[in-house]
Amino acid sequence: MDGGVIPYQPAALERRSKNFAARATADPRSKCFTLGTPRGIYGGEPFQIFQRPRDLTIVYQFGHPVRTIHTNGTRHPEGKLDFWLGDSRARWEGDTLVVDVTHFNGETWLDRSGNFHSDALHVVERWSFLDPDTISYVATIEDPLVYLRPWTLRVLLYRHREPGFQLIENYCYTLDYDEFYPVRVSHD
C-alpha cells in the first residue's frame, strides 16, 4: 500500500487492535464468510473472470459467491444497500477498467490481522494489464467513518496457466455440518 500505514482515525485504531487480538476467531474468513471487496481479490484462493460487453462476472472459489461488475452504463441503485461484495459499476478508460464499488455491509475485513472498514466503505478499483498474464490491481479505499483520508493498495494478479486448471467449489461455510451428509448407503 502507498505510505505503508493505513490512516485510521483514533477510535478505529482501537478497534483494529481489538480485532488483531481476537483475529484467530473473529476474522470473518475463519467463519467462511464471503471475503468482500477488495479482500476477495487478494485473499489467496483463485477466482475466474467471465466477460461480456455488458459486464464482468467474478466467481470466487472461496465460498463461490458471484460479483457482477456492470459495464453497461448503469448506475448504482439508490438508497443504502448492504452487499458483502458491494455494488460495482465500471467504465473502460482505454485499456483500464475503472470500477466504482459502494453499498457495502460492515462485516468483512481487509486481511487476517483485523484491518477493517465500515458500511460506509467506498472502493475505486483500477484493473490494467501489465502483460497478457499479469494484471495490475489498484484500489483506493475510502471510508469516512474509519480512515482519516483515502488510501491506496496495489497488488499484482497472475493468470493461472497450469494445464487443465479449473476453479472448483469451496463452499467452506458448509464444513460445520459437512459430516452429516450425504445419506450413508447401507452396504458401503
Binding site: F33, Q48, F50, G73, L167, E169, Y173, T174, Y181, P182
Partner: protein
C-alpha cells in the same frame, strides 16, 4: 424418453392440463399448474458469436419450490395436511415424469430414509434431519431449479448458472470430468449443445443436497444426465434430469421442471422474479439481479439469521 407426448408436437408449445392439451397463454400468471412440452430439435433463434444458442437472461421455474418433489403444489411435509388443496388433478403434476407412477423408484431402505427425513423436517432432532438448503448450502444440480429465480450467462466454452443458493459453471466441449475422488455440492458439469438442447453430464456429485423437503436423495455414486430443451422463441425451457444410481434406486428416473423467462414486464414477486430495474440514462428497461449471499445465515435453520 418418458411417456410424454413430445415428438408429435414438433415445436408447438403446449401445456398438459389434466388429460387434454391446451395452448399456453402468453399472459398467463407466472405460477402455472401445467407443464409445457418442448421438443428437442433445431435452434432457429439468436446465436452468440461462438455459435451457442443465446439463452442468456433471468429465468424461474413455473410450478413451485422444493416443498414437495412429487406433488409440487401440494405443500411440504411440515404443512398441515388438512389444508384444502383441491383435487390432485388441479395441481401441477409430479416432477418425476418417468416412471409413469410419478414416484421416485427407491429401494425400500432408501424410501424409508426419505420418509424419515420428511417426518422430521420441522423437528430435526438429529443434525442430518436439517434440510441442507435451510443452512444456505447449495441446492444441488436439480433442486437449484426448484428455488428462487436464477440467471443464465454464457461465454465461449461455458454456460454459467447463478442461483439463489450456489453457482454452477458448465464446461462445454469434450474435456474430462474431475478425478472421481473430488466430490462437489453441484458436481462437475460437462455439456454440449445439440440444436436447441443443452446436454450436460454431471459427475463428482457429493449428493449432500436433497431433492426436496420431502427428503428424496441420491448417493455419491449418482450420475445425472441433464437436458435443457429451449423453445424456439427462447421464452421457456424444459429441464430434464435422469438420475442413475443403482445403490439407491431400483431403476433410473427422470425429473422434469418447466422454466420461463423473466422479463422487464414480469411482475416482481420476490420469488420467481428477483430482479430490479437498473438505473441508467436510457429509456429501455434493463433488469438485473442483486447480490445473493446466504453464508451469514448458516445456522441450524436458515430462517434464524444471526449476526456474525
Amino acid at each position: 424418453m418418458t411417456n410424454r407426448i413430445v415428438t408429435a408436437l414438433g415445436f408447438g408449445l403446449w401445456a398438459l392440463a389434466g388429460s387434454g392439451l391446451t395452448p399456453v397463454s402468453a399472459q398467463a400468471p407466472f405460477r402455472e399448474r401445467t407443464v409445457p412440452l418442448i421438443a428437442s430439435g433445431e435452434w432457429p433463434g439468436a446465436r452468440l458469436p461462438d455459435g451457442q444458442p443465446d439463452v442468456q437472461g433471468h429465468w424461474s421455474n413455473t410450478i413451485g419450490n422444493h416443498n414437495n418433489l412429487t406433488d409440487p403444489q401440494g405443500g411440504g411435509p411440515d404443512q398441515e395436511q388438512s389444508r384444502a388443496r383441491g383435487a390432485r388433478a388441479d395441481r401441477a403434476p409430479s416432477r418425476v415424469t418417468d416412471p409413469p407412477s410419478g414416484e421416485v423408484p427407491f429401494q425400500p431402505w432408501a424410501r424409508a430414509k426419505a420418509q424419515e427425513f420428511a417426518a422430521h423436517l420441522s423437528n430435526p432432532i438429529r443434525p442430518e434431519y436439517v434440510e441442507p438448503l435451510a443452512r444456505c448450502a447449495p441446492a444441488g444440480p436439480t433442486k437449484s431449479f426448484m428455488w428462487h429465480g436464477y440467471e443464465i450467462r454464457q461465454y465461449p466454452g461455458y454456460v454459467v448458472f447463478l442461483f439463489d443458493s450456489g453457482t454452477r459453471v458448465i464446461h462445454l466441449g469434450d474435456s474430462p470430468h474431475l478425478p472421481g475422488a473430488i466430490r462437489l455440492w453441484n458436481g462437475d458439469s460437462r455439456g454440449r449443445w445439440e440444436g436447441n438442447t443443452l446436454v450436460v453430464d454431471v459427475a463428482n456429485n457429493n449428493s449432500k443436497a436433497r431433492l426436496a423437503r420431502t427428503g428424496e436423495f441420491a448417493s455419491e455414486r449418482v450420475r445425472i444426465q441433464e437436458r435443457y430443451i429451449f423453445d424456439p422463441a427462447g421464452e421457456r425451457f424444459t429441464y430434464e434430469a435422469v438420475y442413475t444410481d443403482p445403490t439407491v434406486f431400483t431403476r433410473p428416473f427422470t425429473v422434469t421442471i418447466p422454466n420461463k423467462r423473466i422479463t422487464a414486464e414480469t411482475p416482481q414477486d420476490g420469488w420467481s422474479n428477483v430482479t430490479f430495474r437498473a438505473s441508467h440514462a436510457g429509456s429501455e428497461p434493463i433488469i438485473e439481479a442483486w447480490e445473493r449471499v446466504c453464508v451469514e445465515n448458516n445456522g441450524p435453520h436458515g430462517d434464524i439469521a444471526s449476526a456474525p
